[in-house]
């Protein structure tokens, strides 16, 4: 969170008509967030580790909540590339609070108010009058570097206290309305207001199984697969249906099928699917179906599937690495019959790198590795593999 930002060319901090937004994602997926920001919002972003920064018209900021590949959003209030830290720790804390106080808050606060649809008073007309409907807030601090003579918690108190003095908001550490974030790097300091108090991936999955893939990660996988209208997209090991559920809400024009060996998983997929219809009304009946099946003995017609997208068992919480050595190639060869030659493709997520690397040679008649890249998934190093289906027709 506190890595030097490159804000060259971004004008959200100097132009009232623009805001600079920080959008976070699972590390490794930044290029897909960049793509979504361009496609959905028409904005040019810049990637940093785990984040994409972009400028957007101030009145359009609420549209950022539509992004499906993003976990959290903040609006920048101020940034300096060279913060001069005084010598003593007490003074460092005071200078941070001074810096926060000096920033122009009005625009960012109005943006926060619009996004959160907050009905109360954010900026009091008269500083000294007591007003009842002010927001509750907390201050958070993220710090990197060893030159600071203070702890993050101390900065939170110092800056939070000053903000309370200026605005008269009530401090609340949990279930707050507004979060101010101080990001302190070695030389850089920037201040933001959170536009999401609950991460954006808290959508969709009402019936959680014990192995759920975050909707934002699912959205990244679906985006990476470049679905075309009319594509049949299969998740042969769908669990609770996270991938088909997310994919079928993304307006890709694809038809999503999830197959799962456990009855519980298939039921959960179905329940999640019907919940979406109920929650969001008719136009959002997801174009998906779930079935109970064994991926190694698939019951779909030859060449009926265009894209496979799956979160393969990592071999940690489900199955084992020894099982994966056998499961991965057998699954991919079983899928080869179903997937259309030449145009078909598979996007696979796994943490079991070794099993996957050992799989390449065993499936190369039908699957050619296109590329792979690393991501951070729940603290584990995951890998996303893209395979293209070869021209070779399936021979049993």
């Amino acid at each position: 969170m506190a890595e030097p930002l490159n804000l060259d060319g971004f004008r959200g901090l100097v132009d009232d008509k623009l805001c600079t937004i920080e959008a976070s994602c699972n590390t490794g997926f930044e290029f897909l967030v960049l793509e979504e920001v361009k496609e959905i919002l028409g904005c040019e972003g810049r990637c940093h580790r785990g984040r994409v920064i972009f400028d957007i018209n101030t009145e359009d900021v609420p549209k950022t909540l539509k992004l499906r590949t993003v976990n959290n959003l903040w609006v920048l209030v101020g940034h300096t590339g060279k913060f001069s830290y005084p010598a003593e720790s007490e003074d460092q804390l005071i200078s941070l609070a001074d810096y926060a106080e000096s920033l122009p808050w009005d625009k960012a606060l109005q943006v926060w108010k619009d996004v959160m649809k907050f009905k109360g008073t954010v900026i009091k007309e008269d500083k000294d009058t007591k007003v009842d409907d002010v927001p509750s807030f907390r201050c958070s601090c993220y710090r990197t570097g060893s030159n600071h003579k203070f702890k993050s918690s101390e900065a939170q108190i110092s800056v939070g206290g000053r903000i309370h003095d200026i605005f008269g908001w009530n401090v609340k550490m949990k279930d707050y309305d507004l979060e101010v974030v101080m990001n302190c790097d070695i030389d850089q300091v920037y201040v933001t207001i959170a536009l999401t108090n609950k991460a954006l991936f808290n959508r969709t999955l009402s019936h959680l199984g014990f192995l759920c893939l975050k909707p934002t990660v699912c959205a990244c996988l679906v985006r990476f697969a470049k679905i075309e209208p009319g594509d049949v997209v299969l998740d042969p090991m769908c669990g609770g249906g996270s991938i088909p559920l997310e994919g079928s809400q993304m307006n890709t024009g694809g038809y999503f099928i999830g197959g799962e060996i456990s009855a519980g998983g298939a039921e959960r997929s179905r329940k999640n699917q019907t919940d979406i219809s109920t929650l969001h009304g008719l136009s959002k009946v997801p174009l998906m179906d779930a079935m109970q099946w064994d991926a190694l003995h698939p019951c779909l017609r030859d060449n009926s599937v265009d894209v496979i997208i799956s979160d393969l068992p990592f071999g940690k919480r489900s199955g084992s690495k020894a099982d994966n050595r056998v499961l991965y190639p057998r699954t991919m060869n079983a899928m080869a019959r179903l997937v259309r030659p030449s145009t078909g493709r598979a996007v696979l997520l796994t943490q079991d790198k070794t099993s996957m690397f050992k799989t390449f040679g065993k499936i190369q008649k039908y699957w050619k590795l296109n590329r792979y890249f690393g991501i951070n998934i729940g603290g584990l190093h995951g890998l996303i593999f893209l395979f293209n289906r070869t021209q070779q027709n399936f021979e049993s």
Binding site: G230, G253, Y255, G259, A266, D289, D294, H297, P298, C299
Partner: protein, 124 residues
């Protein structure tokens, strides 16, 4: 289970079965739900499905209505046709019933909208 999914299902993964298509539907409960019409999607799906199987399935469920027996030329621009296809492919769901293999007569149950296609050890 939507009829679009049924259109892709086969029992050919069974040891003794050669073609295993189409699976015959014996439905006890059928549900019709409204799904937003997307012309481009339906248009792109038409060449990928077996039209005869779709008609047969619709007929078995009593939802054939005036669906044409064959796909008309220039179907991409025939919105009336696309809407009829859309209805049958996506809006008619088998909730409870059985899918029957035409060669082995093996029944695959559909429960609460979910077909169970798992095979027994002696069928693989």
């Amino acid at each position: 289970m939507k009829l679009l999914t049924h259109n892709m299902l086969t029992s050919k993964n069974m040891k003794t079965v050669t073609t295993g298509y189409p699976l015959i539907i014996q439905a006890r409960d059928v549900k019709v739900m409204e799904v937003e019409f997307r012309a481009e999607f339906i248009s792109r799906m038409i060449p990928k499905i077996d039209w005869e199987c779709l008609c047969r399935a619709a007929e078995d469920l009593g939802h054939l209505n005036d669906l044409p027996k064959s796909v008309p030329d220039n179907y991409e621009n025939d919105e009336d046709f696309l809407k009829k296809a859309h209805h049958v492919m996506l809006e008619v769901e088998v909730i409870n019933g059985d899918l029957i293999c035409p060669e082995s007569s093996r029944k695959f149950p559909v429960t609460d909208g979910i077909p169970n296609m798992l095979l027994n050890e002696d069928e693989i």
